[in-house]
Structure formats: structure tokens, C-alpha cells
């Protein structure tokens, strides 16, 4: 897919809780098509404080209004600066980047989307696109505490939503892998994005139950478009770049 360098305009920056915010951006000309699982590389400011771009998943796309949503968690200087962006500010991005989640095959009746923390971000656009398929969609979303579970109304537009929190403030207590939903192994495919330990646990579940599984990795990146070779993950075919050959990998190719 052709990559573009886009000077986007911030339409809204909505705090969702202390650490999460939703950044809505637009562009003077229509956005190119973006696939679920793809990401953008944001130029946060022009200081060398935050030198490299920051990779952020495409959370949602609205081609009618020509708006892109990004769901971001503040973890350091770059994401903090992003949280301070105001309506009308410019935000330079390279997009779209990476491969995408692959679509379910016709025989798949029920797919499960498992997200942890800010890893839920790419699952919304995936849920939206999955609407065009006849399979049933369920979301299993986990976080530390209730206030970290964000965008639930948006997710529930596209499927049933199941929740876990570590402190039992909402949903079942514990990690997503402890959720009772996983006891009935009716899923034909699992898509997952979140902290590595969570994705590894979900992958183990998928393997044991012979369920096809795609995971989205978040390796640290310098370029995001395949030239620095910093972002590699070890696969059955050697080192592969997460930014161009991922971020989505079929579980069978990973050495997990």
C-alpha cells in the first residue's frame, strides 16, 4: 500500500481517564483507505526531546467525515505531548503502515477479539470491518481497573462485550485469560492485541484448543517503514520486521 506523509489537523482531543485520551484528526484531502491492524507514525513535535516518531494504531476511521481516531495511553514524554494537542493543531503522520488483520473465512461463525490495556485500540476498527462478514463478533477486554476500560459504547456497536478487571471493579475479576467466556471453546478465530504476557496466554489457549489466532505486536520502532531493522521479532522464517511484515502475525509463524 502506498504510504503518505500527511499534515493532519486535530479535530478533538478527548481525555477518557487520567492516562487515556482519544485523538480525532482530519486531513484537508480524503484519507487513503486504512485497514484494521495498521498504524500511523506520529511526529510529536519539532524538538529533539522526542526525536523519533511514535507508532500508534488506527483506532477508528470515518470516511464520511474524513476523520481518524487514535486511542493513546500516556506512558512517557511523547504520549504526554500528544495529550496536550489542541483542536486546530497540526499533527504530521506517515500512514498507513504495516500489514493488517486478515479477514475471517466463510466457514467461520464466531470470532473473538481480545484486548488488554491500550491494546484494545486496533480492535475497534477491526470490529467495524467485521460487520461486513456474517460471523458473530465478541470482544473480551481487560484492564487493571474499571476506569481503564474505555470506548465500551463504541465496541458494543459491533458485538458482545465481556470485561475483566484485576481489582474486580467491573466484569469478572482477574486477567482476560481467566474469563469464563473462554470455557466454551466455540471460537473459530481469535484476534489479540495487548501486553505480551496477555497475548502469550491467549496464544496458549488458542493453541491448546486448535483455534486460529492472530496477534498484533508492539515492538519499539525507529522508522516504522522497514528501513532500520530495529523492530524485528523472531519467527519460524527468521527475523521479520514488525513494522512491515507485521504488526499482525499469525500465531503459527511466531516462536511462542
Amino acid at each position: 500500500m502506498k504510504k503518505y506523509i500527511l499534515d493532519c489537523v486535530v479535530v478533538a482531543n478527548i481525555p477518557l481517564n487520567k492516562r487515556y485520551f482519544l485523538l480525532r484528526v482530519s486531513h484537508p484531502s480524503p484519507f487513503p483507505r486504512m485497514l484494521p491492524g495498521q498504524f500511523v507514525e506520529l511526529r510529536v513535535d519539532n524538538s529533539s526531546d522526542v526525536l523519533l516518531r511514535r507508532p500508534i494504531s488506527i483506532h477508528d476511521m470515518n470516511y464520511e467525515t474524513n476523520e481518524m481516531d487514535l486511542l493513546v495511553q500516556i506512558v512517557g514524554a511523547g504520549t504526554l505531548k500528544m495529550s496536550e494537542l489542541k483542536k486546530g493543531d497540526l499533527l504530521n503522520m506517515i500512514a498507513p503502515l504495516g500489514n493488517s488483520f486478515s479477514m475471517p473465512t466463510i466457514d467461520m461463525k464466531h470470532v473473538l477479539l481480545v484486548g488488554g490495556g491500550v491494546g484494545v485500540a486496533p480492535l475497534l476498527l477491526l470490529g467495524r470491518v467485521l460487520q461486513q462478514y456474517s460471523c458473530k463478533v465478541s470482544f473480551l477486554l481487560g484492564a487493571r481497573t474499571a476506569s481503564d476500560l474505555v470506548q465500551l459504547d463504541s465496541f458494543s456497536q459491533y458485538g458482545e462485550v465481556y470485561l475483566t478487571t484485576e481489582d474486580a471493579t467491573v466484569g469478572e475479576k482477574g486477567f482476560v485469560t481467566n474469563h469464563s467466556l473462554l470455557k466454551n471453546k466455540v471460537f473459530d478465530k481469535i484476534y489479540t492485541c495487548g501486553p505480551t504476557p496477555m497475548m502469550k496466554a491467549i496464544s496458549a489457549y488458542a493453541k491448546t484448543n486448535n483455534i486460529e489466532c492472530e496477534v498484533s505486536l508492539e515492538n519499539t520502532m525507529a522508522c516504522g517503514f522497514g528501513v532500520c531493522l530495529c523492530c524485528v521479532t523472531d519467527t519460524t522464517e527468521g527475523h521479520k520486521c514488525v513494522c512491515t511484515e507485521g504488526p499482525v502475525f499469525n500465531l503459527t509463524t511466531l516462536k511462542w
Binding site: L51, R53, I94, T220, V227, C228, L229, V232, D234, H239
Partner: protein, 302 residues
């Protein structure tokens, strides 16, 4: 009209801006962003005789005004380059140089020999920063004797232009430059990355899988400028300057201290079109200061 053309030995560049090895892939990755034929030249990523998987992840750490990398020369080997990559480079209307690395002298020689046969490649950049496996892992480029030894051996088999890329991890870089000049290097490029380290205080662990890695980006520019200035006084062959160049002003600074051309590295990650902007920026600078040729500003600072 300002003349941006410059010669690096017998290599004629349409302008003094090239891209640095390991930061520009095979060039083709940038074709979505701009026409790379507008550059003076591109230097493709480090190529070795045999396939190398490189180092384990994590390979990157951002540091104040810079980054550390520990890619470890991941590449599919020179044969793969020749059969799968080289054909697609033939349409690029600028010089394409291959950056050659090795762990032994023989590896350098064999890789260079194969590249010598490729019509479209007018020069190689010899990366002598690699550890010499036969001599206890010390970088070839860290002693005059071993740096000279590599260049001498490659000179025997490689008939076109040789640019030797110097390591900054030495006490006296001018001596190394003189040593490679004496063995027939056509030009030198400097600097490669500086050895550095990043630590995660929370995890109480190094960030990189290899513990140490190569520092690049704006934070290295003062060191790179100093080294180019020192080497300019010590050798007669042309110098290609790099290290932390982010814009045209940075590039001009390198030329003022003696570089005939420059390379753009880490900056490509931040703005993929930066090298083209630097070509235009140099031209604007020359116009503003009433120079007719870019050659007029080389080495103005003695």
C-alpha cells in the same frame, strides 16, 4: 544557477547529498515519498558475504537527542543482493553504493569482488567498524594496522572507487584516515556510530539485547564535526561527512570544516523526505551567499 556537482575521487555526484547506510534500506522504500534520483547518491544497507540474522530484539533505544541501535548487520548476503535487489536498483538515476562489511579480511575481499562485477555500482563503502573475529573482536577500524590491512586486501580485487567509513571509537581518527589513504582508499566517510549504552532503571537491565549499541542522531554532531575537521587537515582524499545531520544548515557546517559531501542517516526516520530538503537548502544557502559552486564552501574553516 548554482553548481551543486561535486567529485568524490573519480565519482561524480550531481549534488553533495547522499544517504547513510542502514538508514535508507535499499532506497526503494522511499519511492512513495520522493524521487530518490534527485539525490547525489544512496548508500544501501550493510552487506556481508553470508546471510546474517543480526542481533536479538530489542535493538533500539531512544536517548536524549539520539538513538542507539544494535541491528548487527542483518542482511541476506551479497548473492541475495545481486540476484534479488540489484535488478530493481538499475532504474534509479543516481549513484548507488553498497556498504560492505565482514568479520574477516577474506569476507570483505570476497564480497567486494562480487560487487565489482555490477555495472550500476560505481563504488563501495567499506565499513571497517565491524569486529575482527580473528583478532579477538576488536573493530578493524580501531587500529591503523588492521584498517590498512582491510583496505589493502580489498584494493587488490576492487577496481572502482573505495570509500572507507571510519569508526569514531578511536583516540586519533586522523591517523586511521592516513593509514587507509596510504593503502589506496579513494575517499573516507565519517563518522559511523559511537559506542553507547542505555539502562532501564525500573527493570534494572540494559535496554539493548547486546547491552551496548551504536549512537547516532543530533547528539553526535559536535563530535562528528570535530572529527571531519581533524581528518580534513590530515589527508588529501575527499571526505564525506555524517553524524547527526538533520537539516541543510547541519550539512553546510560539515562542508565548511572540510567535507566534500554529506550523508543523511537517522534523520530519514523522522522525515523521509529530509535528504531532498537538504539538497534544496544547500542550493538556497549558496544563492544567498553568492557562491556559484558548492565547491567554494568546502573547507573554509581551516
Amino acid at each position: 544557477m548554482v553548481d551543486l556537482g561535486i567529485n568524490i575521487g573519480n565519482l561524480q555526484l550531481k549534488n553533495p547529498v547522499m544517504t547513510a547506510s542502514g538508514t535508507f534500506g535499499y532506497g526503494t522504500e522511499f519511492s512513495d515519498f520522493f524521487d530518490i534520483s534527485a539525490l547525489g547518491g544512496i548508500i544501501i544497507k550493510g552487506t556481508t558475504l553470508h546471510h546474517r540474522e543480526g542481533n536479538p530484539y530489542p535493538r533500539m533505544a531512544e536517548t536524549p537527542a539520539g538513538m542507539l541501535n544494535a541491528v548487527g548487520l542483518q542482511n541476506k548476503g551479497v548473492e541475495y543482493f545481486i540476484t534479488s535487489i540489484y535488478p530493481s536498483l538499475k532504474t534509479i538515476d543516481t549513484h548507488v553504493l553498497v556498504n560492505v562489511s565482514g568479520s574477516t579480511i577474506e569476507e570483505y575481499v570476497q564480497a567486494a569482488e562480487k560487487i565489482n562485477d555490477l555495472d550500476k555500482i560505481p563504488a563501495i563503502e567499506l565499513n571497517i567498524s565491524c569486529p575482527n573475529v580473528k583478532k579477538g573482536g576488536m573493530g578493524f577500524g580501531t587500529s591503523c594496522a588492521s584498517a590498512a590491512e582491510v583496505v589493502k586486501a580489498v584494493r587488490k580485487v576492487y577496481t572502482k572507487s573505495i570509500m572507507v567509513k571510519l569508526s569514531p571509537n578511536v583516540t586519533n581518527i586522523a591517523e586511521i584516515a592516513q593509514a587507509v589513504e596510504a593503502e589506496g582508499a579513494d575517499s573516507v566517510s565519517l563518522i559511523n556510530t559511537l559506542l553507547g549504552m542505555a539502562v532501564d532503571a525500573e527493570k534494572q537491565k540494559p535496554v539493548l539485547s547486546t547491552i551496548t549499541g551504536g549512537l547516532s542522531g543530533p547528539c553526535v554532531k559536535p563530535i562528528a564535526l570535530r572529527m571531519v575537521w581533524q581528518v580534513a587537515k590530515a589527508v588529501n582524499i575527499p571526505i564525506v561527512g555524517l553524524g547527526g545531520i538533520m537539516n541543510a544548515t547541519d550539512a553546510i557546517e560539515f562542508m565548511l570544516v572540510g567535507a566534500s559531501a554529506v550523508q543523511i542517516g537517522t534523520a530519514n526516520f523522522i522525515d523521509p523526505t529530509v535528504s531532498l530538503k537538504i539538497v534544496n537548502g544547500i542550493e538556497a544557502y549558496l544563492q544567498k551567499h553568492n557562491y556559484s559552486s558548492v565547491k567554494d564552501i568546502i573547507g573554509l574553516i581551516k
